[in-house]
Each structure stands twice: as structure tokens, then as C-alpha cells.
């Protein structure tokens, strides 16, 4: 049972004559990772900025736990903008403490959580250093600390993995999973579809400012699965052409991808294959996120 906490409802937004968001609606549930996927310029950043109140919507609503989002509610949001930003001439810990306090934490709480979080992100020894003295990877970690320090109920991360090496990306993945497991709602955008596929529970796909698909990852995948099967036999698979109800999509010697006409029994096809010789593998083709993405944004 999932609890929907954030609902974006029919949001429109234009910049001048250019409408960048058209009737954008989707929801984000507590305790789940929601991947926000779209091409450059599709409207991901604008949507996230509207959720955070950095931009105003022309029309439409954003609600948090059933009520319009107020500045009070946003104090419990954590945000990592696409364009990273920190005060270069401020010490790491001071900076995180400052942002924690802007989110309403007391001075003592802010200090305590900053110390714990910096240690957790292996930045403890650098706490007193100026941000500009850190490597880019470490600056990125400080940025993540800044978004997490007040233990937000909603995390909005714009391209959190861009510019991260695989190890750092893994540590971010771990942290996000932890937060979701602790009950936070997490919305993150990414270009890296494989990573999103591996990580997220829910998906929102946006193209040209409209939501093309949204829902649980597995459900979306089921919805976009075609009646296709991949088969690998010992010898040439060319005989499949003559099987009733079978259309060959791709044939490469012993391997083939088939599409079955409605009502065709997949087990019948398997039996026919076994009659022709040995079968190495036979099974339905599950579309990858990249394939679903390409299909829905058409």
C-alpha cells in the first residue's frame, strides 16, 4: 500500500510565447523512488522548480498531503538543483549548518546533524575546509549533504548523478534508498535510463512538456510489453517463417525474435521448436526502459 504525498495537478507554464509545460499531472508516493525521465528541454527542471516554489505555475496546483504546498511545507523539502551551487568561500560544515537552519532547524540540531551527515558521506575530515578547496566530486557530496541535512520528507533531485563517478553514484544510490526506506518520498530526474531502471520504483516520463507515461515501473513495463518472444535454437531458425501465427521480427542464424498473433499459444511454438531440434532458450521479451521511453515519446 503506497501513500501518495505529492500531487502535481494540471500544471501549465510558459516562458514568453513558449509553453514549456502543458497540463502536467503526476504523483509521488512516500517511501518510494520516483524517476523523472525526459529529453533535454522536456520540462523536468521547470516542473521541479515549480514543486519547490522557485517558479510559479501559470495554472494548476501542487499539493502536499492533500493541501496546497506552503512555504511551511517546503521547509521539509530537500532540493538539489541541476546547477549546483554553494558559497565557494564558506567552510563545508558552516555551509551545511546554514542551509539546515534556513530549513528551520535549531542551531544545536543543525550542528549535530551536519556532523553526522558529513561523517556518513566521508567528508568529516574536510568539514573545516572552504568549499572551493574541495575536488568537484567532494563538492557534489556537500551538495547532497545540503539537500539531506534537515531530514526532508520530500527529496527533489535534479540530475543527481550527472558528473559523478560510478563509485560516488553508488553511494548516492545507497543514500537515496535509505531515505526512501525511512519513509521519504524521492523524486529524481536523470538521463541515465539504465540507472533509473535499476533504481526507481515509479516512473514519470515527460516529453515536450506533457506527461507521456506515469506509474509503477513494473506496471509500465507490463503495459508496454508486446507479445514478443526471443528464441535460440541449435541450428538455423529459418523454419519459424512457416509456423502459423508467427511473424519474424529479427532473424540471425540460430537466434530470432518473434511476434505472436493474438490467440497464438506460445507453448505450441516451443513444442514446434523442440520438434526441430534442441532449444537453448525461449522466453518473452521484456522491454527495457530505453525502449519504453522511445515508444512513449513518439
Amino acid at each position: 500500500m503506497t501513500t501518495t504525498v505529492l500531487v502535481v495537478g494540471a500544471v501549465d507554464r510558459s516562458f514568453g510565447d513558449r509553453q514549456v509545460l502543458k497540463d502536467v499531472s503526476f504523483s509521488v508516493a512516500a517511501g518510494r523512488l520516483t524517476g523523472f525521465v525526459g529529453a533535454n528541454g522536456a520540462g523536468k527542471t521547470t516542473t521541479m522548480r515549480i514543486i519547490l516554489g522557485v517558479l510559479a505555475a501559470d495554472s494548476g496546483t501542487v499539493t502536499w498531503r492533500g493541501a496546497p504546498v506552503t512555504r511551511q511545507a517546503r521547509q521539509r523539502f530537500g532540493y538539489m538543483p541541476e546547477e549546483r551551487g554553494l558559497y565557494p568561500k564558506m567552510a563545508v560544515a558552516d555551509q551545511v549548518v546554514y542551509l539546515a537552519r534556513l530549513h528551520g532547524l535549531s542551531a544545536a540540531d543543525a550542528r549535530r546533524r551536519t556532523t553526522a551527515l558529513l561523517d556518513r558521506l566521508e567528508l568529516g575530515p574536510r568539514a573545516g575546509d572552504l568549499v572551493e578547496k574541495l575536488s568537484l566530486g567532494n563538492q557534489q557530496r556537500v551538495q547532497i549533504a545540503a539537500a539531506l541535512v534537515h531530514d526532508p520528507e520530500l527529496l527533489v533531485l535534479d540530475e543527481p548523478f550527472s558528473g559523478l563517478d560510478p563509485l560516488a553514484a553508488d553511494s548516492v544510490v545507497t543514500v537515496l534508498r535509505e531515505r526512501a526506506a525511512a519513509g521519504a518520498a524521492v523524486l529524481f530526474s536523470s538521463h541515465q535510463l539504465e540507472l533509473v531502471e535499476r533504481l526507481c520504483d515509479d516512473l514519470v516520463i515527460i516529453a515536450d512538456g506533457t506527461i507521456r507515461a506515469a506509474g509503477a515501473r513494473d506496471e509500465l513495463r507490463g503495459r508496454h510489453t508486446l507479445p514478443r518472444y526471443a528464441i535460440e535454437v541449435e541450428a538455423d531458425a529459418g523454419w519459424l517463417r512457416d509456423e502459423p501465427g508467427v511473424t519474424i521480427i529479427d532473424l540471425d542464424g540460430a537466434r530470432a525474435v518473434l511476434e505472436l498473433a493474438p490467440g497464438t499459444d506460445d507453448q505450441q511454438v516451443l513444442r514446434a521448436a523442440l520438434a526441430h531440434g534442441q532449444v537453448r532458450s525461449f522466453g518473452p521479451v521484456r522491454p527495457s526502459l530505453a525502449e519504453i521511453f522511445r515508444e512513449v515519446i513518439k
Binding site: 519547490l52 522557485v54 505555475a57 504546498v69 512555504r71 517546503r74 554553494l86 558559497y87 534556513l102
Partner: protein
């Protein structure tokens, strides 16, 4: 969190950051050194009495009374030698004749002559040199602090834009809280710097004994200068913040701050050049951009009626409130346009952020 609490946090950070900023510390120390030097160097130079060589001891009494140090010499040749060597400023030889190297020693001549009594019907209550110096100092103080601290406000705004941290800030606190905290912090620092310089000046003048009733004469003008300066500074501070927000990078400040610089520069020169023209100075003392300079000058010159500063102050306060609104709107309208510099019109038309 309330806007006030957020603004206080912003204020605290701004002040801490500024107190660690080497450029700010350097400028404060330089100002202090300039003031200490300009008070102590003349005092040091004047400390030794001027020496005058005297052959005929008859004129010695008059010279001694005028504060000269007398060096008795046997004859004219010896006196001339001392003058040539620079051991004495002048010599008085029998005749009586005054000998000096390359310039008539007016003070010595005056001490030896009898001048008729002079009666001034409309005497100034202070040294006439101050009549030139005080207006200049007031105008300079206004101009320099507005410009220096104004540019620093603009820089600190554009820094937040250029480093993109502004997006995180605005997602947690309102732009108004950010703006208020920043302007308040910079105003406090500006006033603290001026107070520090003022204290050093007063202490310096008292210690060196240069004071001579100067402070008593200045008191009413300075008393009025304070509220005018505070309001004038706050009025422009928001404009400077708006100017900073229009820029996307530090480099843009040159072009976006042009208007604000003119707003500071033109009244400064107007006051400077028109300060002897009573009608013009009266007009300037009501115009809100120049009244912080012109009204204290008029009060100092005893040219303003008792009610006049109140009216000028009211006009200034109303303008300050209006400009606060304008500056805040430009600030909010351009704060998140981080890619290119924003035009004033575009900033004005931009919808403010939600909630």
C-alpha cells in the same frame, strides 16, 4: 520559519562572511590609516615652534609673544648663514629688515607690525577654513559609503546568482527575507565602519588638541546627518541589490550598475559645485537623492529653518519606501534568471515566486 527569523539568519551569515573578507578588512584599515595620518601628521609638523634668528634683541619680545623660538646671533652674516643652512625659517637683522630664503615669512612680518583692529559685523562662529572643509567631508562620506557598500551589496547578490546557490536559498526562504537580511547586514556594517571612523576622528582631534571647539560647532549638523544618512543609505541599498540581481556574473555589474552609480554620482557633484548657490542648495536639500548631503550642509551653514530638516526627512523616508518596493521587485524578478543579464523591464514584469 517566519520571514523575520530567516532574514536574521541571512544577516548573520552576511556579516560573518564580510568580516572574513580580506577586501573589506583592507578597506576599513586603509580608511583608519588615512584618518589617523591626516590628523596626526599636521599635528606633528606644527608641534615644533618655528625658529627665527634675531640680531637685535629688541624685536625678540614681539616674536616670542607670537610663538616663535628665538635664536640669538651676533651679526647679520651669522643670521644669513643660519637662514641659508635652513636652521631657522627667517632672521630679523638691524634695520629692521627680515631675511628669508625664498618666500616672504608673513607670520614674522605680522608679528613685527601693528595691524589696525578689525570688526566683523556678521562673524562666523567657526574657522572659515571649516566652511569649505565640512561640506566637502559630509558629501564625500555620503558618496563613498553609498558607492562602496552599494557595490558590495550588488556583488554579494550576484555572487549568489553566479554560484547558483540562490536556487537552494529561494526554495527554503522567501526572496524578501534574503533581500532584507542582506540589506540589513550591509547597512549595519556600513554604520559600524562610519562609527568606528568617527570615534577615531574625535579621539584623534581631542588627543592632538586640534579640536578647538570644532565638535561643538559641528554637533547640530552631525546630529541631523545621522538620520539623513541612515535613510539615504537604506534607500539606495535595495536599489543596489536589484542592480546585483540583474547581473548574471560579476562582469555584468559594470553595465547593470550604471544607473545606480549615476544616482549616487550626480547628486554628489551637484552638491559639490552648487554649494555656494543658496537657491540651488535649498532645492538639493529637499531632493531625496541629495538631501542626505545638502541638508546637513545647510544646517551647518546655519541656513535652514528649524522645520526644514523634518520636511526633507519625510520626503526622503517616503522615497526610501518607494525605492524599497522597486528594488525588491527587480530583485525578485531577476534573481532566478541565472543565464544572462536581465533587463529592468523583464525583471519588473516577472511574476514573483509562489507562496
Amino acid at each position: 520559519m517566519t520571514t523575520f527569523a530567516a532574514a536574521r539568519l541571512v544577516l548573520g551569515r552576511e556579516i560573518r562572511a564580510k568580516l572574513r573578507d580580506k577586501a573589506f578588512l583592507f578597506s576599513t584599515v586603509s580608511f583608519l590609516l588615512i584618518i589617523i595620518a591626516s590628523i596626526s601628521i599636521p599635528a606633528l609638523i606644527e608641534s615644533g615652534a618655528t625658529k627665527v634668528a634675531v640680531v637685535d634683541s629688541g624685536s625678540g619680545a614681539a616674536l616670542r609673544q607670537a610663538g616663535f623660538e628665538i635664536v640669538a646671533v651676533p651679526d647679520t652674516a651669522a643670521a644669513e648663514r643660519l637662514v641659508r643652512d635652513g636652521d631657522v625659517a627667517a632672521a630679523v637683522v638691524p634695520g629692521p629688515r627680515v631675511v628669508a630664503l625664498d618666500e616672504t615669512p608673513d607670520e614674522v612680518v605680522k608679528a613685527l607690525s601693528t595691524a589696525p583692529e578689525v570688526q566683523l559685523l556678521d562673524a562666523l562662529g567657526y574657522n572659515p577654513a571649516l566652511a569649505i572643509f565640512v561640506p566637502l567631508a559630509i558629501a564625500m562620506l555620503c558618496y563613498l559609503t553609498s558607492l562602496l557598500f552599494g557595490l558590495q551589496i550588488a556583488q554579494s547578490v550576484v555572487e549568489e546568482k553566479a554560484t547558483r546557490i540562490v536556487e537552494i536559498l529561494v526554495s527554503s526562504v522567501s526572496p524578501r527575507a534574503l533581500l532584507a537580511g542582506k540589506v540589513a547586514a550591509m547597512s549595519i556594517l556600513a554604520f559600524a565602519q562610519i562609527a568606528l571612523l568617527a570615534v577615531v576622528t574625535v579621539v584623534g582631534l581631542t588627543v592632538t588638541g586640534t579640536d578647538a571647539g570644532l565638535l561643538d560647532v559641528l554637533a547640530p549638523a552631525l546630529g541631523w546627518f545621522l538620520p539623513f544618512f541612515v535613510l539615504g543609505f537604506v534607500m539606495l541599498a535595495t536599489v543596489w541589490a536589484g542592480v546585483g540581481a540583474l547581473a548574471a556574473r560579476i562582469e555584468d555589474l559594470g553595465s547593470t550598475s550604471g544607473t545606480a552609480q549615476m544616482i549616487v554620482l550626480i547628486p554628489f557633484f551637484a552638491v559639490l559645485f552648487l554649494r555656494d548657490n543658496a537657491a540651488a542648495l535649498t532645492a538639493l536639500s529637499y531632493f531625496p537623492l541629495s538631501s542626505p548631503m545638502a541638508m546637513p550642509i545647510r544646517i551647518f551653514q546655519e541656513g535652514a529653518a528649524g522645520w526644514e530638516p523634518f520636511v526633507a526627512l519625510a520626503i526622503l523616508a517616503i522615497t526610501a519606501v518607494l525605492l524599497l518596493g522597486v528594488g525588491a521587485r527587480i530583485y525578485e524578478g531577476s534573481l532566478l534568471r541565472t543565464n544572462t543579464r536581465t533587463s529592468i523591464l523583464a525583471a519588473w514584469k516577472t511574476r514573483p515566486t509562489a507562496g
